[in-house]
């Protein structure tokens, strides 16, 4: 039978997995909109105007989902993880306070102008609002990554009476672990967003709708992916080195290595068993794991068995989550090389096969984000704070029934709202497309009139 700990873990994993998709998409779309609105202001090409108005609709829907699903995360830290809060509240709490102050309020303050301000403010002020919302989403990601990085690699603290007290705030905020992970997450958000843009544009081209608009979006997104994916692979590798330094057992789980060894192989397939403390079978490339994690052929990797079995994560989850993430990254690279080559040869828009493939690329980025986070978070288990606080000690003293009620409600409500209606309305928005904005000039004064004062003064 489940207890409050198991249910709380399931609830947290469920809500955070749902939640992260929306901010990731918002971060990417906000950046895309910033670039496109800048291009529109510079060139005044109406196609850019269509692009921003259409994607703003998708952005608004997504941003709203992120806001409402985010509140759940914050309060769960108290309702379900009170033991954790009691001990490290004064370390992570200030990071959240800074996140609210420096990011959430900026987003909230300017999202109204960005979404509804087209006829209320001038183009420059509107662009400023778009930029500020983008900056807000980006800063917010930094604070959350710094809080999570502290849980992976705690620094700058001392323990007084069982409570963690920060001795060096600079070390916490600028944890060396944070920067590569923050960039990794940002790029993941941009890539996931780009593939949604690629997918929807391909859908329009396949149906011969909004052709000029779709070509603009598709080609821009392919160029963005071509630039970002090699950087992402490089940053991912950097993060891998950090993980190996700070959390060798996580690296061991990722690589499925039980015994400490030099020149460990890169396992492509394996069936790791925590019970038997070995892989039931494995296929690998010699020296691969050593080379990747230490950048040396004979580099030493610490094995899982160097710690007690109860201090090991569930190895197969981490092992496969990581492989799915990396596999998707490589798939993206392959896709974009082919797509760019076809784009340059003027074959992309005519190739139905490639457009169909493009259409189905939409979920890849999000799958990589989720599996990447699975690797990071499940790989850290059984610790909530690596090496210091166990997850089972972090749980609140709540009844199993209360958690069961909230978990069931969440599954139902999230399933209906995010699983059905978000896609229903996204689909509706996509079907309608950018048609509304064919010839409309946004700002009244561009036509020589004053800004709309109807709702003003």
């Amino acid at each position: 039978m489940f207890n409050a700990l198991d249910l709380s873990r399931i609830q947290f994993a469920f809500t955070v997995s749902f939640h992260i998709l929306f901010p990731a998409f918002s971060i990417g779309l906000a950046m895309f909109l910033s670039v496109m609105e800048g291009l529109w202001l510079k060139t005044r090409n109406p196609i850019y105007y269509q692009v921003i108005r259409f994607w703003t609709k998708v952005f608004a829907l997504t941003f709203g989902m992120g806001v409402v699903s985010g509140i759940v995360m914050e309060f769960q830290l108290g309702t379900n993880w009170a033991g954790f809060t009691k001990q490290i509240g004064s370390v992570l709490g200030p990071l959240f306070v800074y996140e609210v102050l420096s990011a959430f309020f900026i987003e909230a303050g300017f999202i109204g102008i960005m979404l509804f301000g087209w006829n209320k403010v001038g183009p420059k002020l509107h662009y400023l609002a778009t930029l500020l919302v983008t900056i807000g989403t980006t800063i917010s990601a930094y604070w959350i990554m710094s809080a999570n990085s502290w849980m992976q690699h705690p620094v700058g603290y001392e323990i007084v009476d069982g409570k963690f007290i920060t001795t060096d705030w600079m070390a916490v905020v600028f944890n060396p672990y944070t920067l590569p992970r923050f960039i990794h997450m940002l790029l993941a958000a941009y890539l996931a967003t780009s593939f949604v843009i690629i997918s929807i544009s391909a859908y329009y081209l396949l149906n011969d709708k909004f052709v000029e608009f779709a070509r603009k979006c598709l080609s821009s997104a392919i160029i963005v992916v071509m630039i970002l994916i090699p950087i992402q692979i490089y940053i991912g590798d950097e993060s891998g080195l950090h993980v190996h330094e700070a959390q060798p057992i996580k690296t061991a789980a990722i690589e499925g290595i039980w015994d400490t060894q030099k020149g460990a192989p890169l396992l492509l397939l394996a069936w790791p068993s925590n019970e038997e403390q070995r892989n039931l079978f494995e296929i690998g490339i010699p020296y691969g794991a050593a080379l990747i994690n230490t950048h040396k052929l004979d580099g030493e990797l610490q094995g899982l068995k160097s710690v007690e079995p109860q201090d090991q994560p569930e190895v197969w989850v981490v092992f496969y989550a990581f492989r799915i993430m990396v596999g998707i990254g490589l798939l993206m690279l392959l896709y974009v090389i082919v797509a760019l080559w076809m784009l340059l040869k003027n074959k992309l828009y005519e190739s139905r096969t490639m457009l169909i493939i493009s259409k189905y690329m939409a979920p890849t980025g999000f799958m990589a984000i989720i599996t990447g986070w699975f690797t990071a978070e499940i790989g850290r288990q059984p610790w909530a704070v690596y090496g210091l606080i166990r997850t089972r000690d972090a749980v609140a003293n709540v009844s199993m029934h209360d958690v069961l009620i909230s978990l069931l409600l969440m599954i139902i409500v999230y399933g209906i709202i995010f699983g059905v209606f978000y896609f229903y309305f996204l689909d509706k928005t996509i079907k309608k497309g950018p048609a509304d904005f064919d010839s409309v000039e946004p700002f009244y004064f561009l036509r020589g009139a004053q800004p709309d004062q109807e709702g003003g003064k």
């Binding site: 108005r53 609709k57 829907l61 709203g64 989902m65 806001v67 409402v68 985010g70 509140i71 759940v72 914050e74 309060f75 830290l77 108290g78 309702t79 009170a82 009691k86 509240g89 004064s90 370390v91 709490g93 200030p94 990071l95 959240f96 306070v97 800074y98 609210v100 102050l101 959430f104 309020f105 900026i106 909230a108 303050g109 300017f110 999202i111 109204g112 102008i113 979404l115 509804f116 301000g117 087209w118 007084v160 920060t166 705030w169 609140a396 003293n397 709540v398 009844s399 209360d402 958690v403 009620i405 909230s406 409500v413 709202i417 209606f421 309305f425 109807e454 709702g455 003003g456 003064k457």
Partner: protein, 331 residues
């Protein structure tokens, strides 16, 4: 001491900002059943659409500040309030998605209208239960020093919920009087005129049914030996209700909202000061719950710089969408 007290004051400020700003937003949702026409509902939603996210952010801020500044309070209060907090979260979730989906829906619009109303109602009821149990104080098992189960719900708490529904609906109505004109505005004048009597009744009942030891108890109100401040408080409160009633009668459109804001602030002050210095009623004082001074100071630097700035640009956003709302907006 000073740092913890400063943070207590900052959090008190954040919570009243939340109550006032999301109060009228929730109130607009609560009034949905009284306004039937789609076009009127569109206008109601339009008055809050550009600002609801910012208003809700104050709640997120309150949570984060309590988490950082008084972690012991956060980790004691929230498990006790597990179910009402979940109810609050679900309510806000339903309301938030209703705001987004309503804009895009045609056939399914009635679902989102119900979600907007139902979500707002759930959130307000949850807040009422939380306030009720806070005023009641908590019981802890003397053996295990764990809080007794299911003390988030009580008759007094249910009563607080009903009072809060009335209070927020009235605040929402006053906001809508400010933001609308013509027949619709007339409608909200009528609604406000009825709701104000209910609110006065609710205030009286809270006074009567508050726990004996509480300073919100009516016997404390008229016990002049405690302090002349209590008497002054009552005089001001009654005057504000009179101002509110006159403003409605004379159709002075900005005054009902302003007088209600002052009534809310006064009632809130009475509520928060009645429990001091406890942050978890009768159990943990704010000094016991505080984080280390380093953390408090680190947060204070950010708060001191950023709160004035955010107040400035929030006010600016309100100004851009200020004035009367006469048609729906979209994107």
């Amino acid at each position: 001491m000073e740092l913890a007290l400063t943070w207590l004051l900052i959090i008190a400020f954040i919570i009243i900002m939340y109550i006032l700003l999301d109060g009228f937003t929730l109130g607009v949702g609560l009034l949905f059943p009284f306004v039937k026409h789609d076009s009127d509902r569109d206008i109601m939603v339009t008055t809050v659409l550009p600002v609801w996210d910012g208003n809700e952010t104050w709640l997120v801020f309150a949570g984060a500040a309590l988490y950082g500044a008084f972690p012991l309070a956060f980790s004691t209060l929230f498990p006790i309030w597990y179910l009402p907090v979940m109810l609050l979260i679900f309510g806000l979730l339903l309301r938030g998605i209703a705001f987004e989906f309503r804009l895009k829906a045609y056939q399914t619009r009635y679902i989102w209208d119900w979600c907007l109303f139902g979500g707002s109602l759930m959130a307000v009821i949850a807040q009422g239960l939380i306030i009720g149990s806070f005023v009641n104080g908590f019981q802890f098992d003397p053996q295990t020093s764990e809080p007794v189960a299911n003390q988030w719900i009580s008759w007094f708490g249910i009563f607080c919920s009903m009072a809060l529904v009335v209070a927020y609906a009235l605040l929402g109505s006053a906001r809508l009087i400010k933001k609308t004109s013509g027949i619709l505005q007339e409608k909200f004048y009528t609604i406000s005129a009825k709701l104000q009597w209910l609110l006065m009744l609710a205030v009286l009942f809270v006074g009567i049914y508050s726990p004996k030891e509480s300073k919100l108890q009516m016997s404390y109100w008229f016990d002049l030996q405690h302090s002349p401040w209590v008497f002054l408080f009552l005089v001001v409160m009654v005057s504000l209700f009179i101002v509110h009633a006159i403003a409605l009668k004379r159709r002075i459109e900005n005054l009902p909202f302003l007088s209600l804001v002052l009534i809310f602030i006064l009632a809130y002050l009475a509520l928060v000061t009645s429990g001091l210095p406890y942050i978890v009623p009768n159990q943990i004082t704010f000094m016991q719950a505080k984080a280390d001074d380093g953390a408090l100071l680190f947060m204070l630097v950010g708060a001191a710089i950023l709160i004035p700035i955010l107040l400035f640009y929030t006010a600016y956003a309100y100004k851009i969408f200020g004035g009367k709302t006469s048609e729906k907006i979209g994107y």
